[in-house]
């Protein structure tokens, strides 16, 4: 196999491929794709090892406290990790590294990743889904809230792109 880490699929063909995966999810399982929901469940599972009594009573956690990992999304995300691993291996992009802008240090980059992740985890819970569950799946099902959400994601990104240019460019 010809491995070229700099070679990606044509974005339109990748879009069609992603759309077919999403359609298969609707047609076969009657569900959309997702990611952040599984993160929450993994987090609750980890927290219930550390503080089981707290998880069982916290209003925002107890709903999934009984069996946090018993959910379709957790299994779907396992598949995402596997698919990402196989995709990266076969394309020559499987490598332990810190991806960062030319002027950003690795420490700054990891800090930004943690902080940005935290914002997204919070926001995805607030919006009942992230770019996968809300924008992609809800958008394809013509959900009005999903389209409003998607516009705001782009608005948020463009709003501070200029401020953050030194981190990325």
């Amino acid at each position: 196999m010809n491995r070229d880490p700099g070679k990606f699929w044509n974005p339109y063909l990748a879009g069609v491929a992603l759309g077919l995966v999403l359609l298969a999810s609707f047609v076969v399982m009657g569900k959309g794709l997702g990611a952040s929901g599984a993160s929450f469940r993994v987090g609750v599972a980890a927290l219930s090892v550390l503080a089981p009594a707290h998880v069982a009573t916290a209003p925002g956690l107890k709903a999934v406290a009984a069996s946090p990992l018993d959910d379709w999304l957790v299994f779907e995300v396992l598949g995402v990790l596997l698919g990402g691993l196989v995709g990266a291996y076969t394309s020559g992009r499987l490598q332990v590294e810190v991806l960062r802008g030319p002027r950003a240090s690795a420490g700054l980059r990891i800090g930004m990743a943690l902080g940005g992740g935290l914002l997204m985890g919070f926001a995805a819970k607030l919006a009942r889904g992230c770019t996968s569950g809300q924008a992609l799946s809800g958008g394809a099902m013509l959900s009005a809230g999903s389209w409003a959400f998607m516009m705001m994601v782009f608005a948020g990104g463009y709003a501070i792109a200029w401020t953050l240019r030194r981190a990325w460019r």
């Binding site: 339109y12 076969v28 990325w168």
Partner: protein, 392 residues
């Protein structure tokens, strides 16, 4: 056959979880190949010179939307029923705020929650850090739910399941076509911006043209299904309910059913099933059943047997039942005195007879018939021994 496969969610749950892993695999693999395991490829979207994120995202939405609308138009799937399960309802304020904050987090971390998983799986330490951040962020949200003002905000602006086609009052295929055309316009525009900013050749032209034409074609096919007679739905025999089962519903759980009497207003005014609304066929449109909350089951009462649901009822999103034999059957069952019960009837037959004569008495004012002679000696104790009416 109608999609999705029910049994994967219930009976065949283990198989369903394997399918979940397989679908996730496809999702992760395609994201990786599109370049979404690399932060710079993703944030380039916000600097204008590489619109891959926009193209892949919008392209996949148009593909899945077009496919779902087409399958639904052909009667193989129910768009609204799948959407009600597969997507969340709309809480407009938290969704707008959540979208904006997620956009901020996107460009700060360089990933979205799904792509950070792919990055982590391909060895990117920053991807792994984002995954950890997302987990912590969801837990922070969970903890904040203990604060009543925050919990109230998360529930604000609730609209139920609200779809674009409801907002514009057009059929879903028309909305899907409009979105597909808008997407094609945006793709063409995105190519221009990229060429302006990079002075590069842009995306190869051949697959691009083919894909864009494919999007338009798919959406047009979906639109064409509007012209189909509602073949699958019309042929499907409506679900039927016997007069006795309807009487039990009306008496034991009237809040579960909405009974519509389709006969002429005069006949309906003279006598009807208890609780029925007089809605002659011509007035059905005014009920706007397509927008009615689908909480109750509709039960239709016609003069005789109804073999096909009226179009204005087919739009109802809940369950619809048809009274078997129509009003004539109801009249025979409820308004004519039941024949005396033969000796040696089982307990279930006795119970059904008592119920029927009770309904008859209540609806006609006739004195209820005396209870049937008790079953022959020995029957009652034997019934006890076998453990209950259900087994009899």
């Amino acid at each position: 056959m109608t999609f999705p496969f029910e049994w994967l969610l219930h009976g065949g749950r283990e198989v369903g979880l394997v399918v979940a892993v397989a679908i996730g695999f496809g999702f992760g693999f395609v994201l990786e190949r599109a370049g979404f395991g690399r932060a710079q490829k993703l944030v380039a979207q916000f600097y204008g010179d590489d619109m891959t994120v926009f193209k892949v995202m919008f392209g996949s939405i148009v593909t899945a939307m077009g496919g779902a609308v087409l399958l639904s138009g052909l009667g193989l799937m129910d768009l609204r029923a799948v959407a009600d399960v597969a997507t969340s309802a709309t809480w407009i304020w938290p969704m707008l705020v959540g979208g904006f904050v997620l956009g901020l987090g996107f460009i700060v971390s360089g990933y979205c929650p799904g792509t950070s998983l792919v990055a982590a799986a391909s060895g990117k330490v920053d991807g792994l850090a984002t995954v950890a951040g997302v987990v912590v962020g969801t837990l922070v949200y969970g903890e904040l739910m203990a604060w009543p003002a925050f919990a109230a905000f998360t529930e604000s602006g609730f609209q139920g399941h609200l779809y674009l086609q409801d907002l514009v009052h057009l059929p879903a295929p028309v909305v899907a076509l409009a979105i597909a055309l808008m997407a094609i316009g945006c793709f063409v525009g995105a190519e221009r911006i990229e060429r302006l900013l990079t002075r590069g050749p842009g995306t190869p032209r051949v697959p691009r043209r083919a894909v864009l034409a494919g999007f338009a074609g798919l959406a047009l096919l979906g639109l064409a299904t509007l012209a189909l007679p509602r073949a699958t739905e019309a042929v499907a025999v409506p679900e039927r309910i016997s007069p006795e089962a309807l009487a039990r519903r009306v008496i034991e759980s009237p809040w579960n059913s909405r009974v519509l009497d389709l006969r002429s207003p005069e006949s309906c005014a003279a006598a009807r099933v208890p609780g029925a609304e007089c809605t002659p066929a011509a007035s059905l449109r005014d009920l706007d059943l397509g927008y009615a909350a689908p909480a109750r089951d509709l039960v239709l009462v016609a003069d005789g047997d109804l073999t096909e649901l009226p179009a204005d009822v087919r739009v109802y999103r809940g369950r619809t039942l048809v009274l078997e034999g129509g009003w004539d059957a109801w009249k025979r069952w409820a308004l004519e005195a039941p024949q005396p019960l033969a000796a040696g009837a089982t307990a279930a037959e006795r119970e059904a007879w008592l119920f029927r004569s009770g309904v008859h008495g209540a609806l006609t004012g006739a004195k209820a018939a005396p209870p049937p002679a008790p079953a022959p000696a020995g029957a009652a104790p034997r019934r006890k021994a076998t453990g209950g009416g259900c087994s009899g």
